[in-house]
């Protein structure tokens, strides 16, 4: 059963990674003068949109979201609304954290917010897909020994990788090399992206090699 799940996880990750690749390549063909550094915000939003769309679609197809108790349209709508709200709140949260880390408050607010959107679509969105708009479940997953399925573990790994990637991405900024990728927020978003892709690869592999040791408490 586990092998099956790991395989489906790996394939879904491959699809997401492919979508990231497409979101970089397709605009390069369609939009003249597109480059990852030059028109960074465009790349950033295209990747965010692609990851968002594909993740939602994949999780819906795999049926990952926890089964809802009620099946009324109103409940589903309110769930959708709450998901959107959480998405937006998470963007705001990331924005605030970035400003606390020293991003300029007013000057490049658009860039900062775009990075927040990217981080949200790479981290919070996956949580929304897997766990639904449920704060308690989020707290449970992100506390120690809180994972209850391999999807939770996978979530922990990808989120941690993404955030560490973005964190490490900030280090080249003070260097005086004057490269185009040192401009705020290019290095951070590239770091986050690389971290995310690493997470997508590492998570199934890690789970595969530790499947004997992994035991999950059921509810």
């Amino acid at each position: 059963m586990w092998d099956h799940e790991i395989r489906s996880m790996a394939s879904s990750h491959a699809i997401v990674a492919a979508s990231v690749f497409m979101a970089t390549v397709v605009p390069a063909v369609l939009v003249p003068g597109f480059s990852v550094y030059g028109t960074h915000l465009l790349w950033l939003y295209s990747v965010s949109a692609a990851v968002t769309g594909v993740s939602v679609a994949v999780s819906w197809l795999l049926g990952l979201t926890p089964p809802t108790k009620k099946h009324t349209l109103g409940y589903k709508l309110s769930r959708l609304f709450r998901s959107c709200l959480y998405f937006f709140l998470s963007c705001l949260f990331f924005h605030v954290v970035l400003v606390l880390y020293g991003a300029p408050l007013i000057e490049s607010a658009v860039e900062t917010f775009s990075l927040a959107v990217l981080l949200t679509s790479l981290t919070s969105l996956r949580c929304l897909c897997v766990l639904g708009p449920n704060v308690q479940a989020w707290i449970r997953v992100f506390s120690r020994h809180g994972a209850m399925s391999i999807w939770d573990t996978c979530l922990q790994i990808t989120v941690a990788c993404t955030l560490v990637g973005a964190w490490l991405g900030a280090f080249p900024i003070p260097l005086d090399w004057d490269r185009p990728w040192q401009v705020w927020p290019v290095s951070c978003s590239l770091g986050a992206m690389i971290g995310y892709l690493t997470g997508l690869v590492v998570a199934p592999a890690w789970i595969h090699y530790h499947r004997k040791q992994l035991t999950y408490k059921s509810k």
Binding site: L100, Y101, G102, L105, Q136, R144, P174, L175, D176
Partner: protein, 973 residues
Amino acid sequence: MKVRSSVLASFILIFEVIGVALFLRGFFPVPVKSSLSSKSKLSDLPAEPVTGRAPNGSRLPQPLFKRVVIMLVDALREDFVFGPSGRIFMPYTRHVVERGSSHSFVAKARPPTVTMPRIKALTTGSIPGFIDVVMNLNSPALLEDNLIWQAKTAGKRIVFYGDDTWVRLFPKHFMEYDGTTSFFVSDYTEVDNNVTRHLDSTLKRDDWDILILHYLGLDHIGHISGPHSSLIQPKLLEMDDILKKIHGALISKEAEGSLPYLLVLCGDHGMSETGSHGGSSEPEVNTPLVLISPAFRRKVGMMKPGVVEQVDLTATLALGLGLPISQNNVGHVIPDVLEETTLRDQLRFLHLNGHQLSCLLKDSMANYEKDAGFEQFRVAEKAHGNWMKLYLEGNTSEVLTNMGKKVLKQYLEALAAMSSALSKQLGKYDMYSMVAGMILCSVCVCVLKLLLVLLLAMPEALSGAAAVDLPVLPALASLPFYLLCLLLASVRVLVCTSAQSSCYLCSLPGGLTVCLFVCLSVCLSVSVQHNSKGYGQILMKFTGFSPLKSSSSEWSLSELDVLLLAGTIGHTLSLASSSFVEEEHQIWYFLLNTLCLAVFQDVCRKYFREQRRSGDDDEPILPSKASHPSAHPKAEICSEKWLALATPPFTLVCCRLLRSLNQTGVQWAHLPDVGHWLNSSEHKTVLSLLAAFCLVLIYVLVQRRCSWVSKIALALGLLGVYSYRAAVGNVLFPWQHSGQNMSKGTVEARFVYVFVLGILFTGTKDLLRSQIITADAKLKSRGLWEIYSGLVLLVSLLFRAHNLPVLCGCLLIQTLMAQFIWKKLHYDAAQTTIMHYWFGQAFFYFQGNSNNIATIDISVGFIGLESYIEAPAIFLTALSTYAGPLLWACHLVCYLSSDTDRSPVAVGHGCYCLALLRSVPAAAYIVLVTVLRYHLFIWSVFSPKLLYESMHLLLTAGVCLFFNTMEQSHSSS
């Protein structure tokens, strides 16, 4: 021999300080100075060499110029005049450069490209070393032989307008002067108008010989908005107009028959692409040098300006005015200036310059005779004598002219060679001392690390008395000890007897060196013995033979531990990069933020998870709804929980606000910050309100744990601080009008000092009483806190008014963290120490410091003093510079020793961790600097940081000794 771990740590730190001092002695080159203490005189000048005839007296050629106007524009970059935009920026100057009778050069300034060392270089002709700059931060009068002194002695009348650094360097040298302070960087019109307003009347008069103008506006514009700002062009046009005016006035004054004038336009240093200076990048180093005089040949078109050294101007001016060249000058005369004089005079000028350089070479080099330049000079001098003989015999043939030209060429080569040999002398390292210091430091760090290993390996071995068994006696008797002594002695003999060594250690008396060697060998052999023992312990532990295994818990690191470890290691590694050294504050802010977030996560985990576990139903519920038996504790726990949860975000916000208070570093230093905004005169009311609020908050936060006597003293002291700031003119009393009677505030400052001493005295008294009479832990912690509050009061006096929020934030964060985080989350001594250290580092930069010498606030040294007195000034400056780290370290002592539920070893562990945290980067940095000693930025970036590191190490050694006394009393009570 049993030694407590904190005592050991302090001793090792002291050893490391000695090691660093030794290293510094070897690292910073001794400036090239003439051994003669007197200044060169006209009568000392050598005679003109003539072969086969007695010297015919020291005939000096006639001076070239009668009047000299030096127009020095601060931060005038080479491309502002010679670059493609020069035609727009300075049209008249460009015209003169291209068509007029002028010479233009690119003068290379030597780093540090800061105004004062540049002025010194221009007037003395020497190259002020880095250490020279540090030693003369307070800018006393220049005592070295210099051009201005020579001119004054020769009876020249000098007029000066501009930067008051000149007035401080040359007191009583100027016939007339008006100094302008460059204190308010935001002002760029007034400083220049202040100079220009004297110009018209001065130019009309005839009673001066040398006029020096130093314009500061351009530099200020650079600092505000960089070299590409729109303010640059109008400023340069203004400078151009002034040059035109002076030139016109000089032309109109020129009389037939008398000597011509000389107008010099130069910059003291350039301006980097961000508008700052101090480093050694091309735009900072290259300055224009334009010499305008009717004595020169007219130009026919733009030629590429030649490259000269900035110090070459000194020799040229001295010879041009008929003055002796100052003794320590390393520059050589610019030959183009001399080209219109007779061949005899030219040779004579070059001979004078060469003689001065060769004298300096004799004084500064042991084997000067082997120097190529010196030999060339001897040959040229001989040829000069032969030429003179023929010349005086009345020979005027073509052959003679050719021969003279050959001598001239020989002279020029010799001058260039000697000049470069002297400059090279400035960049020489004393490797022996450096390596000795480095080894001492590394050994210290190794011992500390080994001790850490021991601590980890046998926690309960240290828990009782926290003592380490040091096998000093056996080490003294062991074979490795003697072998090491022998080895070191032989190395010393080898190094000191080798031919070309001029090192400091060799000049030390033998006894001292022997002591040093013995200590070093003891350290080494002890560490070797410890090594085997420590690793034996660890080996036992891991192989499971040790009985300790059952008791020791598993080695699992939390996220926080990983962060603390990675941050410490990462910071140490980042010291290898010059940009990271320049922007070190960014690293600390970044790490501190991450630390706060990690702590926040810990807090969340504690409060959310624990509550959930206590609730017995499976359904996850909001923790606030969790049922508790009684109502009263519930409310208390709830409020405590929310306060604990709010502390890390509050700290984050606080740090973000403090960060925008002072922009430091290099890349973003030019950005506007809150500090500048507060300091501008129209926001004085805001600053006053802020300062008053901060002082009240400081009182509220500090007085909690003081006795009532200290409470009153503290309140009065803080009032005194405010009135001091009001007296100095930084803040306002509500009944006071702005701009009213400014004074030095000496009385107010002394009033505060009295209370500081009073509080410190009360604290010490309490401490002593708790130690001797009653073993009262409460009394002791109160005494400690009183000492701490005395320090806070002193710092609040020393900090500038806009920096008071830093102090406030420091106290606020300390209080909140101690109350809700460190105690409640049971962080151990090591974790708490590392957090304190990180906070201390970040606060060091919050108060506006950087790794550049220029940010040290020297005015602190004058608070409460009528005049400059060295010892208190240095002490106060050091205290205010390192206030952040010091306050956090002191808080650590207070916190660790006042916490009664901690094990008694906590203080020792804290001290030990602090020592390790400080000495690892210091030792690593010393090794790095040795490796990078030929790096381009070694003088501008790495050496200031080296000084900061060593000063910090010294300070930490002091704090560790304080720790020691605390621990001693802890164990005795």
